[in-house]
C-alpha cells in the first residue's frame, strides 16, 4: 500500500497539469473573442454568486452570531454563550411549536405523497381529457398560501362555511369545528396545505411515470405479471428518485410554513397552531427578543440540515459509485 500511494498522487497531479497546458493553447488560438467567451459565463454568474454568498450564507452566519448574544430590540454583539438556547428549550411555546411541526410535517408529507402518487397513476391510464384534468389538479399550486389559507378559513369557520351550509340545507346535527378547536386546529392546516401541494406532487410523479421505459413493463407482462405486481415491484420502486425530490420539496415547505398558518389560524386558537417559523417571527420582531428569535432560527436550520445532509450525502455518494 505505501508504495502505491505516491503513484496515485502523481496521477492526480498529472491530470490538471495536462489540462492546464491544453487550455491556454486553445485560448490563445481563439484570441480575445475566445477569452471573453471563456470568461463570460463566469462574469454573468458572478453577481448572483456574490449576492447569494452575502445575502444567504452571510446572513446565516450573522443570525447564528446573534443567537449567541443578548440582543433584544436591536442587534448587539457581546458574546453571551448558550443563554438563548437554554431559554428556548425552557419555553413551553417553543415545545408546542415543535410538536405542531412534527404533526403537521409528517401528515402533510404523507398525505401529499400518497394522494400525489395515486392521482398520477390514475391520470396515467391514457384517459381522454388528461390535459384538462392535469391542469385542474395543478391549479392550486398557482395560488399563494395566503389565498389558500384565507379561502380555507372561510370554508372551515363554523358560522360561515361548511357547517353553516349543511345546517341551512337541513342537516342541523352536522358539526365540523376543527378550526376553532385548539386540539384539532393543526389538522386544518394539514388539509389546506395538502390541497395546495398535492397537484404539484402529482405532476412530479406523472413526469416520473412517463419516464419509465415501456419495454420493461411489456417484458413483465410477457412474463405474466399482473397490474398490481407491475406497480408494486417495478413502477413504484423505479420512482425512488422522484419520491426523494418530492420529499425534499415538501419537507422544506413544511418547515418554513408561515403564511399558511398566519392566514388560516393566525397561530390560534391561542397558541395551539404555532409553528417554529411563526414563533421565530413573533419573538424576533414583535417581542424585541432578537437573540431568542435567532436561536430558534438556527435550531430550525439545524433541523433542515439534519434531513438534507444525509440525503445529499447518500445521493452524491451513489452517483460517484454509479
Amino acid at each position: 500500500m505505501p508504495k502505491s500511494e505516491p503513484l496515485k498522487i502523481d496521477a492526480v497531479l498529472d491530470l490538471p497539469e495536462g489540462s492546464a497546458t491544453q487550455a491556454p493553447t486553445t485560448a490563445v488560438n481563439r484570441g480575445w473573442g475566445g477569452t471573453l467567451e471563456a470568461w463570460l459565463p463566469k462574469l454573468v454568474v458572478a453577481p448572483s454568486f456574490i449576492a447569494s454568498l452575502v445575502f444567504v450564507y452571510g446572513f446565516i452566519l450573522w443570525t447564528a452570531w446573534l443567537s449567541f448574544t443578548k440582543s433584544k430590540m436591536l442587534p448587539r454583539y457581546e458574546w453571551a454563550g448558550f443563554i438563548q438556547y437554554q431559554k428556548l428549550w425552557a419555553n413551553e411555546r417553543w415545545w408546542i411549536a415543535c410538536k405542531n411541526l412534527l404533526t403537521f410535517g409528517s401528515l402533510f408529507i404523507l398525505i401529499c405523497l400518497v394522494l400525489g402518487v395515486l392521482i398520477a397513476i390514475l391520470l396515467d391510464q391514457r384517459i381522454r381529457i388528461e390535459g384538462a384534468l392535469r391542469t385542474i389538479y395543478l391549479y392550486p399550486m398557482a395560488l399563494s398560501f395566503i389565498v389558500t389559507g384565507t379561502a380555507w378559513r372561510w370554508m372551515l369557520t363554523p358560522g360561515l362555511g361548511l357547517e353553516k351550509l349543511m345546517h341551512s340545507w337541513g342537516w342541523t346535527s352536522f358539526e365540523f369545528a376543527w378550526l376553532v378547536d385548539p386540539k384539532m386546529a393543526i389538522y386544518t392546516i394539514v388539509i389546506a396545505g395538502a390541497w395546495q401541494s398535492t397537484g404539484f406532487v402529482m405532476a412530479l410523479f406523472l413526469a416520473g411515470l412517463r419516464g419509465i421505459d415501456d419495454a420493461i413493463i411489456k417484458a413483465a407482462r410477457v412474463d405474466g405479471a399482473g397490474t398490481w405486481r407491475i406497480y408494486t415491484r417495478i413502477i413504484i420502486p423505479s420512482l425512488r428518485p422522484v419520491f426523494f425530490s418530492a420529499f425534499m420539496i415538501l419537507g422544506h415547505i413544511a418547515v418554513k410554513s408561515f403564511d399558511l398558518v398566519m392566514a388560516l389560524t393566525g397561530g390560534g386558537p391561542g397558541i395551539s397552531t404555532d409553528l417554529p417559523a411563526t414563533y421565530m417571527y413573533t419573538y424576533a420582531f414583535a417581542r424585541s427578543q432578537i437573540g431568542l428569535g435567532s436561536a430558534s432560527a438556527v435550531v430550525m436550520l439545524g433541523g433542515v440540515l439534519g434531513i438534507v445532509l444525509p440525503y445529499l450525502y447518500s445521493e452524491l455518494r451513489s452517483k460517484n459509485h454509479g
Partner: protein, 413 residues
C-alpha cells in the same frame, strides 16, 4: 425684467424651502376614524409650512410598523417621528437615538399640563423623549341595553351578577359576550379581571413589578377561573375574530356585551348609535373607579439637518396643543392626555372617563395596561399573553396557569 422676476421668485422659493422641513411620521393609524385624526395633524403641520410625508405601515397592532422602524433605525435612516408607547419609549431612548424634547417641553410648560403617570412614561432619565397624544381606558364594558331588556337581565357590576345575567341572556337565545379570540383580546379581559378582584396595588405588583409571589397567588387563580367562566358565555366562532367584528355583534343586537377599550366607541359612532340610549358604556364588573390606561405617544428620532430639527420641534409642539388633542380624541374615542381641557365637545362617556382619570390620579388607582404594552417590556407582556391565551384555549387548571405565568415571566428575563 421678466428674467429678474423669475430669478427673484426662484430665489425666494429656495429660501422658503430651506426654512421648512419635511417630516416623515411613522404610524399605524389607518382605520377610518384614526386616519381622520392623522389628517388633522398633517394639516396643522402644513399650516406651519412643513411638508408632511406619510409613512403608515398597517397591520398587526403596530408589529409590522415596528419591524420596519427597526430596520430604518438600524440602517441609520430613521423617520422624523414614530408612534411608540409605554416602556418601549425607554428602550429606544436607551439606544441613544431619540431627540431630547426638554426645550419644547419647557416652552410649552408640559410639566404643569401633564398628569404624573404620563409625565413619568414620557421621560428617560429625567428628560422628555416622548409626546403624549391621548389616553385610552381599557376596562370598559359595552352593553346593548335592548338585549338585556329582552332577556330580563340586569347590567352587572360584580362577577356574581355577571354570571346571573349571562345565564339569562343565554337562555333568551343571545350571545352574552361578544369576544374576538386573539391573544391580546384575552389578555385585555384578563387584566381587567385582575384589577377588579385584586385592586390597583395587586395589579401593579403583578404586571409592573412582575412579583413572583403575587403572580402565583390565590387571587391570580381566581382571576383565571373568572376568565374561564366568561369563555363559557362566548360563541363558538370567536377564535381569530377581529375586535371590531365583535363590537358589531353588540351593535346589531346579536350579543349583549363586549369587554373592550374605548376605541370601540368609534364603531358605535360610525353605526349612528346614540350613547346612553342605544348603547351603554360602563366599567368592567368590579373595576368601578379604577382605570387601566393606554397612552398613545410619539417619539422623535435624532436628525442632522437644521430645518428638519425645527420641523420636529414644531411637530412636538402641535401634538401637545389643545386643538389637536381634542380633535384626535374625538375621532378615536379616547380622552386628551393634557389636563385642564374643555370637555364640551365630548359625549357623556368621554366626560365620565376624564372624571375617573382625574379622580384616579388623586386616589392613585390609575394602572398601566399590560395587554397594550404600557406596563412592562414586550418580552414579559408576550409571556403573559402566551400563558393567558394558552389557559383560555385549553383544559389547563387555574392553579397550573398561575404557576406557569410566574415561570414564563421569570424565563422572559
Amino acid at each position: 425684467m421678466k428674467i429678474r422676476i423669475a430669478l427673484l421668485s426662484a430665489f425666494l422659493w429656495l429660501c422658503s424651502g430651506l426654512s421648512a422641513g419635511e417630516v416623515e411620521v411613522l404610524h399605524w393609524w389607518t382605520s377610518g376614524g384614526e386616519s381622520k385624526s392623522v389628517e388633522v395633524l398633517k394639516n396643522l403641520m402644513e399650516e406651519q409650512g412643513h411638508t408632511w410625508k406619510d409613512f403608515s405601515v398597517a397591520g398587526g397592532g403596530g408589529e409590522s410598523a415596528m419591524t420596519v422602524l427597526k430596520s430604518r433605525v438600524f440602517s441609520g435612516n430613521p423617520p422624523v417621528a414614530a408612534q411608540i408607547k409605554g416602556p418601549s419609549i425607554q428602550e429606544w431612548a436607551e439606544e441613544g437615538v431619540l431627540t431630547n424634547l426638554d426645550q419644547v417641553a419647557a416652552r410649552g410648560q408640559w410639566d404643569s399640563l401633564l398628569p404624573e403617570v404620563i409625565k413619568h412614561a414620557m421621560k428617560y432619565e429625567g428628560h422628555y423623549v416622548g409626546v403624549p397624544v391621548n389616553v385610552h381606558r381599557v376596562n370598559w364594558m359595552w352593553v346593548n341595553p335592548a338585549v338585556f331588556k329582552k332577556a330580563g337581565a340586569e347590567v352587572p357590576t360584580t362577577w356574581e351578577e355577571f354570571a346571573v345575567a349571562a345565564e339569562k341572556i343565554k337562555k333568551a337565545g343571545f350571545i352574552p359576550v361578544a369576544h374576538g379570540g386573539k391573544p391580546w383580546q384575552e389578555a385585555t379581559i384578563f387584566e381587567s379581571i385582575v384589577l377588579g378582584i385584586g385592586g390597583p396595588d395587586f395589579y401593579r405588583k403583578a404586571f409592573v413589578d412582575l412579583d413572583q409571589a403575587t403572580l402565583k397567588s390565590a387571587t391570580m387563580d381566581r382571576a383565571f377561573t373568572i376568565l374561564k367562566m366568561i369563555k363559557g358565555y362566548t360563541d363558538k366562532d370567536a377564535p381569530g375574530r377581529d375586535w371590531n367584528l365583535a363590537t358589531s355583534m353588540v351593535i346589531n343586537g346579536k350579543a349583549a356585551m363586549q369587554f373592550m377599550g374605548d376605541w370601540a366607541k368609534a364603531e358605535f359612532t360610525n353605526a349612528g348609535k346614540t350613547p346612553g340610549q342605544d348603547y351603554l358604556c360602563l366599567p368592567i364588573p368590579e373595576t368601578q373607579g379604577k382605570f387601566i390606561y393606554n397612552v398613545d405617544s410619539f417619539v422623535m428620532f435624532k436628525q442632522t439637518r437644521k430645518e428638519v430639527q425645527a420641523a420636529q420641534n414644531d411637530l412636538a409642539k402641535i401634538i401637545m396643543e389643545p386643538k389637536f388633542q381634542e380633535v384626535f380624541s374625538l375621532n378615536k374615542g379616547s380622552i386628551p392626555a393634557r389636563l385642564n381641557m374643555d370637555m364640551g365637545g365630548f359625549d357623556i362617556y368621554g366626560v365620565a372617563s376624564m372624571n375617573d382619570f382625574l379622580a384616579g390620579s388623586q386616589a392613585n388607582t390609575l394602572v398601566p395596561s399590560m395587554a397594550h404594552g404600557m406596563s412592562t417590556t414586550p418580552a414579559a407582556r408576550g409571556a403573559v399573553c402566551d400563558v393567558v391565551t394558552n389557559f383560555y384555549n385549553s383544559e389547563m387548571s387555574a392553579k397550573d396557569a398561575s404557576t406557569s405565568l410566574a415561570q414564563e415571566i421569570q424565563a422572559a428575563y
